[in-house]
Amino acid sequence: MPQIIDQIFVLLKHWLMGYIPALLQPVVSAILSVVPVLIAFPLLFAITTVLERKGLGRMQNRYGPNRVGPFGFLQPMADGIKSLTKEDIIPRTADHLVHLLAPVVIVIASFLVYAVLPIGRNMVIVNLNAGVLFFFAVGSMVELSVFMAGWSSRSKYSLLGAMRAIAQMISYEIPLVLASIVVIMAAGSLSTVTIVNLQATYTGIWPHWYVFTPWGLTGFVIFMIAATAESNRCPFDLPEGESEIIAGYYIEYSGFKFALFFLGEYLGMFATSAMAITLFLGGWAAPFSFLTWIPSYVWFFTKLLALIAVFIWIRGTLPRLRMDQLMNFAWKFMLPLSLINIFAAGVWHYMPAGISRWFVVTLIVALACILLSRGLRRNKWFHVRTYRFAS
């Protein structure tokens, strides 16, 4: 029975496909696998915006939206209607075509990456054998659209935002890719499905998630930090840094175009989180072998929501970094650390299983962390000060 529930969507699709003429089968099959994604993730976007506002509210000792609809859950709908009926302003001097294309591109790019993300057992739109590569390749289109938006608006603040965005996003692209290489080394495949399948096995009750190795943990942390930066979330929200450059690259966007940017951003956040889950947290696999009766997609979305909660939590706490610190952090900490992490993963591979390789690899990674963080602090004052009092 659990298997049937687990595979209910797959079975449903197969059953439907039986009624479709063979000629149309590929197309209908494609549509049938795409449509759920097109429904589920925008829906998740809507729910997340409410949850984020409510969660932030709770962190700040208040309720958050609770009037619009039951418990405020119709808030995104109201926002949507309002955006839809809002006047659309394009600055006179702007590049009209690029200005129009930018939000479209960001949404398309954000949706495309879901093609390779396994949402549950046997539930992936397409199992590419270069899935991870596809993910990163398509994912970088987001940067393009952000730059298009900032540049085409021809406002000074949006230009600054675009410049910040492009510098930031390309800098964090590299640690993002390098952090995932360790997993690929261990799995020996670029296919996301294979990677998850490898992790969905158990020793006793414990799963084989890559996050439970020293290099996996390091890789996961690097990946998550880079993912935060890629999706322009706090504390890396410089491109839209409200207190500095007002609204950054989308300063001139109104109406639904602005909503599309929001949608694209959140979809990007979900996608990178989903990728982190796929690579390090066992994808749709249950955390303990005795919990496998819970459907795989439930696990996937649980993990996804948990990661989003962390994003929100961080947003509720931290101040923003400055541009130079951000770049230094990327190039002088994250990048070397991820290179060392690849080396550590190699060492792990060649050492015999046992406590000794745990010790050695942990040592390598920890040492690298400490040395690199020291390097970051080197020419700064950066200390908790004590103060004197006038007599």
């Binding site: 958050g64 009037r67 808030q75 809002k86």
Partner: protein
């Protein structure tokens, strides 16, 4: 034939009303204010969004710093003559539909500073204001009250017909004259299309000559 047409019409009417309701509901439930404070009242405006009063409950905590994404301009504080062109320009740059709450005595009429040489006697000289909140500064509750009043006002607007609001009517302006700095005062000193002073008031004051002594 007649019956048919009638039912057809009423059906369309139902559709139109529910569309209007949905439209009004969407607009009133998602009023994003412009992140824009001028003076004292701005602090109370901030206090309204803070934990004790929590404007977010109405879905209005999304203070957008850019006018392009804002629906509501809360003119919170004294509008000086040096600032007035900027306020009007910001209002102009907001997309329709847009609303203005004039918060506090200064924004309504210049308030205690109205006799100052650099103080504009009310922002409604240049832009149309939807709701006025008296007070110096108004309590946060008063702002929420005004917010509810604005929601009520939006809820009562028609989607079509001659009574439809300004933003749905192609003949009504959506941007207003931005005053310019003159040698002594702003030029023009008020927008006569927006600001219609009742004639009676100065003549009332005229009666007072003997009494004021």
């Amino acid at each position: 034939m007649d019956e048919q047409l009638k039912s057809e019409l009423s059906r369309q009417g139902v559709v139109a009303t529910s569309l209007q309701e949905l439209y009004n509901w969407g607009r009133k439930s998602s009023l994003w204010p412009l992140n824009f404070g001028l003076a004292c009242c701005a602090i109370e405006m901030i206090a309204t969004t803070m934990a004790r009063y929590d404007l977010a409950r109405f879905g209005a905590e999304v203070f957008r710093p850019s006018p392009r994404q804002a629906d509501l301009m809360i003119v919170a504080g004294t509008v000086t003559k040096k600032m007035a062109p900027q306020v009007v320009r910001l209002y102009n740059q907001m997309p329709e539909p847009k609303y203005v709450i004039s918060m506090g005595a200064c924004a309504i009429s210049g308030g205690p500073f109205k006799q100052g040489y650099n103080v504009l006697k009310g922002i409604d000289r240049y832009i149309p204001v939807d709701v006025y909140i008296p007070g110096c500064p108004p309590r946060p509750e008063a702002l929420i009250d005004a917010f509810l009043l604005l929601q009520k006002k939006i809820d009562e607007q028609y989607l079509t017909g001659p009574n439809r609001p300004r933003h749905l009517n192609a003949d009504m302006p959506s941007e207003f004259v931005v005053p310019e700095f003159g040698e002594h005062d702003l030029e023009p000193t008020q927008n006569r299309d927006v600001w219609k002073v009742p004639l009676v008031n100065i003549s009332i004051a005229g009666k007072n000559e003997s009494g004021s002594d």
